[in-house]
């Protein structure tokens, strides 16, 4: 239960961190909050030659309002984001999801960007970034690129990040004031990874759904955007919304698996229920008799 030996560097800037990553040629691993990486190191499932600690880079921390959205620096601690007044007002879905990430003690170290870059399929932060339509800012010595969160994940813990690239910020687009938050998670204990989870936001205008962003977590090899359910909701009048049909569309887009905690069938059944209940609750609709 002790890590294999490695060299440790603590760059003071993004530019320096990128240089280290480029020179390491794939032998370096980035340390953000360490709340998942440290167990992987302790279990020797991860054995980097160089550990690049981002903890000394001030420019990677903090929440700021930018044109068209809110920028969260990748190294912003989950506890800091959870207590941030701007996020509470502008992105309540993100704050709700943050409250379910790990435990009080791990949120004090864990970061928003670290969770997103890691790509655990049952984690809250990746799915929330997808549901809200976030854009990820990625920097290397080769330049800066922006990737939609929905295009970032390739598989469990696999992303489009190249070994020399650093996730530096998450930019969440504006959502209209008063938008509705959908969040449901079923886990064995508080703080555990979700067996089944969903997160999303809805904007209503004149009794119709004007904007929808929804994603599953724990329901497949990556977090999954519910594109067909979003399309079915867009423009739909609440009065004649068929919640069960939309829940069916949402579950049809998931790709859950069997593991020793739950079967795929369990996940589909629970997913359909929490989707339908969550949607009814947030839209204040009664269950059909």
């Amino acid at each position: 239960m002790k890590p294999a030996p490695f060299d440790y560097v603590r760059p003071a800037s993004v530019a320096e961190a990128c240089r280290v990553l480029a020179e390491a040629g794939g032998g370096a691993t980035v340390l953000a909050g360490g709340q998942t990486l440290m167990p992987l190191l302790n279990l020797r499932m991860s054995q980097p030659f160089i550990l690049v600690d981002l903890g000394g880079i001030a420019e990677l921390r903090g929440v700021s309002e930018v044109a068209g959205g809110i920028r969260v620096g990748a190294m912003t601690r989950q506890a800091e984001a959870l207590a941030d007044a701007t996020l509470a007002r502008r992105l309540p879905a993100l704050v709700t999801a943050l409250g379910h990430v790990g435990h009080h003690q791990t949120r004090n170290r864990g970061t928003v960007g670290g969770s997103i870059a890691l790509g655990e399929p049952a984690a809250e932060m990746p799915a929330t970034a997808i549901a809200l339509g976030a854009t990820l800012e990625i920097i290397s010595t080769r330049g800066t690129r922006h990737v939609a969160a929905a295009d970032f994940y390739l598989g469990p813990y696999m992303t489009v990040l190249e070994p020399d690239e650093l996730l530096t910020a998450v930019v969440y687009p504006d959502w209209a004031a008063g938008h509705l938050v959908l969040f449901r998670e079923v886990a064995q204990r508080p703080g555990d990874f979700a067996l089944v989870g969903m997160v999303g936001a809805l904007v209503l205008e004149d009794g119709k759904v004007a904007r929808a962003g929804l994603a599953w977590f724990g329901m497949g090899p990556t977090p999954i955007r519910m594109r067909r359910a979003e399309e079915a909701l867009l423009g739909a009048a609440l009065a004649d919304l068929d919640v069960e049909a939309v829940a069916g569309l949402a579950v049809a887009e998931s790709a859950p698996f069997d593991d020793h905690h739950a079967s795929a069938e369990y996940r589909r059944t629970v997913g359909r229920r929490i989707f339908a209940r969550g949607l009814r609750e947030v839209l204040d609709l009664r269950e059909a008799a």
């Binding site: 239960m1 002790k2 890590p3 294999a4 030996p5 490695f6 060299d7 440790y8 560097v9 603590r10 360490g34 709340q35 440290m38 167990p39 190191l41 302790n42 279990l43 550990l51 600690d53 903890g55 506890a79 790990g102 435990h103 009080h104 003690q105 791990t106 004090n108 170290r109 204990r189 508080p190 703080g191």
Partner: protein
């Protein structure tokens, strides 16, 4: 394998150490700083027994490298009670509520309670109970720990702010009597 010099504070005492990059904060506290109250249960962030305060926040000492503590102010369970042995409110509440049996998880539980009572007002009961999801206790069934959380949230033992003063030194500050 790199080695690093760190300058930090442990329970109010300035320290200068050399650490191997891969050494965890928990191992360094136990093996070099003599803080064996930092209990190691799982060493992968699940059990919560190794919880310590880093700059006033409750964190897992097994999920942090010692080298990352450079410049930090660290408090372990050894730093909670006053030099004369007077319990910290978290310790008093846990004793009164029978919040422990074997005591293995207790240092971690105490540090989370200490963090949540360090402000001007203690955290509310719901916050403290929710934070207890980060601690595994195999003896008590948690009911005593819940009673301790309730007592602390109600301020029955006073706040903890006076006990961990700003300069990192522990012990009751003169003239700020603890409510018993």
């Amino acid at each position: 394998m790199s080695e690093h010099a760190i300058a930090w504070t442990v329970n109010g005492h300035r320290r200068h150490d050399r650490v191997e990059a891969r050494t965890s904060l928990a191992d360094h506290l136990r093996l070099e700083a003599g803080c064996t109250g930092v209990h190691l249960g799982c060493e992968h962030g699940v059990c919560g027994a190794c919880t310590v305060l880093v700059d006033g926040r409750a964190v897992r000492a097994c999920l942090m490298l010692a080298v990352q503590a450079d410049g930090a102010d660290v408090t372990t369970v050894e730093g909670l009670a006053a030099p004369d042995g007077t319990f910290h409110p978290a310790q008093e509440a846990m004793r009164e509520a029978h919040g422990l049996q074997c005591g293995f998880c207790t240092p971690g539980v105490l540090m989370t309670f200490a963090a949540l009572t360090a402000g001007e007002e203690p955290a509310d009961e719901a916050t403290m109970i929710a934070a207890m999801s980060g601690h595994v206790c195999r003896c008590t069934g948690y009911q005593g720990i819940r009673r301790a959380a309730r007592a602390l949230a109600e301020g029955r033992y006073g706040g903890g702010a006076e006990r961990i003063s700003e300069d990192g030194a522990t012990g009751p500050a003169a003239g700020k009597g603890q409510a018993a």
